[in-house]
Assembly symmetry: C2
Homo-oligomer: 344 residues x 2
DNA sequence: CTGAAAGCGCTTACAG
DNA sequence: CTGAAAGCGCTTACAG
């Protein structure tokens, strides 16, 4: 292995000077620099990142913490992960995957000093992992939000997204719109923030409408699987037969909802309009009929989260970043006017 | 930050002894050990992994190299990644994501000394990245195979998988079976090994049959997208109208092939049987009708690849691992007998 | 069974 | 503009 010492000897300088030109941390006379650069080139020297990390107490490694990475993460989650990894890499950082559920284990990992910062996904409104993160004094950024707005985060703007979804359906004439969200193993009220915010946004966006047509909210929570989607179709059919449209915030259940509805004899979109919020356009294309989706800004948000964290680490920024980006409407074939008979 | 020195002082021993008990690398008198353990507990000491890495020249970090991680990796790839990350973590290793296409950049990263070993995905038959890996002297394992069988690998057994898929279709009476694979940007002959092996296996498995019915092979390569799938449906319809069944080795095109075929008036499975090989059962369930799939053993293989690499790093194993696991047939509703008129 | 000490390959005040 | 040297927090022969 060729070390900095080898380069220094060949260029006839001290290792300090070599370090200065490699890092650009101090002025070095042009010809000294040239000698060093030549030596580096000739020896094909590459700085050892571990030694650098120990000496500078900066590893340039970021952790990505996600509880469900083992299960089957949906396409949107993957986009977050991949874009965060790319964003990090472009700024000279590496991303390690930490599929950790346990708070205790998380603290242990954090305390090991491997990572300079952490990105946390699937954030809950009250999330003990965030407390651990704060305790650990490792800088972090959230992909999602807790109720504490002071922490740095990057999140999907569910309020705007759901509002637009509802607006889109209303523009077709729908007045009875249900919401299908995701059921998790979490205690009620402790679900990922995304679920709670989507529900709140739905209640908001449909409030005036519901008042007018005198109907209670129609909210269904099912597993994020095909089976969950079919369950939602049945519940919708049995318990909310007058609903003519659905806003879905449950990517994994999308296909099942469509299949289940059709199995119950309801055609999409003639009998039921569906809009799947916070997913990928690829998922929409896979389903028949093509789903109208609100595409999640995951490819941007993952990178923005990495950038926000790195800015924080490098002291580039003054104030904790709070980024909120709505999903983008991508029309498919799953939304149409409500059936005549059901229109009120 | 509490260091080993702090622990040593509190326990009244040298830091060497502390190191010995933490690593279990040397016998230590029971009561000395107890004192040290107490001190560790009281100070909530956690060994610094960076210092350890520098001193021991082992980082316990593994790199996962995948060229297409930025694009949209399919569900199977994700299963590989996640199970590899989990397998590594369980053995005390971390996995960093290196979404790198460029050979040069790969060599740079490898030379930095951050990782003890690497896992390479999307391996081509002749893969220059493998040469770089060998040059770099960083131990590695392949997920996939080159033509050089001496390297350690873990791979899907495409020969068996395709053979079983063809056998399954034949048991329903199909005699004219097409193959749909994936088109990549790679030069011909330089595609990922999986594609070439699948094609070879198809030619093998259908050889006798084709000889009997006097028909040439029917192989179609399309993009791994919904559009690609629709293109395959059209090509099948136009160029191979007598094919009554398809084996698909193109996860991303599955949904498009079904939608495209139906759009051309061919019902599945009445007019065309489809079996999607090397994918996830979840994908099969999403599509209507539910696809018969050969589920990839990705959740096992990712972990096995990590294990193989770690065994190699720790000198646990003698011979380079060569693991080949076939996919598992999961019947859906996309395979049935061929239409009467077409049966020959 | 335990310790003193060298060393891993860098960075970074500090001095000149 | 350049260098000598301390130090990052561990591991690991070596000696006793």
């Amino acid at each position: 292995m060729v070390t900095m010492r080898d380069v220094a000897e060949r260029a006839n300088v001290s290792i300090a000077t070599v370090s200065f030109v490699i890092n650009g941390t101090k002025r070095v006379a042009p010809q000294t620099r040239a000698r060093i650069e030549a030596a580096i080139e000739e020896l094909d020297y590459r700085r050892n990142v571990v030694a650098r990390a120990l000496a500078s107490s900066r590893t340039r490694i970021l952790a990505l913490l996600h509880p469900d990475l083992e299960a089957r993460p949906n396409a949107t989650v993957i986009q977050f992960v991949m874009s965060a990894a790319h964003g990090a890499r472009e700024r000279g950082y590496d991303l390690v995957l930490w599929p950790v559920n346990d708070d205790e284990q998380m603290s242990h990992l954090l305390a090991g000093g491997l990572v300079d910062g952490a990105l946390l996904m699937e954030v809950r409104i009250c999330d003990s992992r965030v407390d651990r993160l704060v305790e650990s004094r490792v800088p972090f950024a959230l992909i999602g939000r807790t109720e504490n707005d002071d922490l740095p985060y990057v999140d999907i703007d569910f309020a705007t997204t759901i509002d637009q979804a509802v607006g889109h359906l209303r523009s077709f004439g729908h007045e009875r719109i249900a919401l299908v969200t995701q059921r998790t193993k979490a205690a009620p009220g402790d679900e990922p923030g995304r679920i709670m915010r989507a529900e709140a946004a739905y209640l908001d966006a449909t409030a005036a409408l519901r008042r007018r047509v005198r109907r209670p909210p129609a909210v269904i929570a099912v597993e994020g699987t095909s089976a969950g989607g079919r369950e939602a179709a049945r519940t919708l059919h049995d318990d909310f037969p007058d609903a003519t449209a659905v806003v879905l915030v449950n990517e994994g259940a999308s296909a099942g909802l469509v299949k289940g509805s059709r199995a119950l004899g309801r055609s999409i979109p003639d009998d039921l309009s569906i809009i799947s919020a916070s997913t990928t356009r690829e998922l929409g294309e896979m389903i028949e009929p093509s789903l109208t989706v609100m595409a999640a800004p995951a490819p941007q948000l993952g990178r923005l989260a990495a950038d926000a964290l790195i800015d924080q680490l490098e002291g580039v920024q003054d104030t904790p970043p709070h980024l909120l980006i709505p999903c983008t409407l991508v029309p498919g074939q799953s939304v149409g006017p409500p059936p005549e008979g059901r229109r009120r």
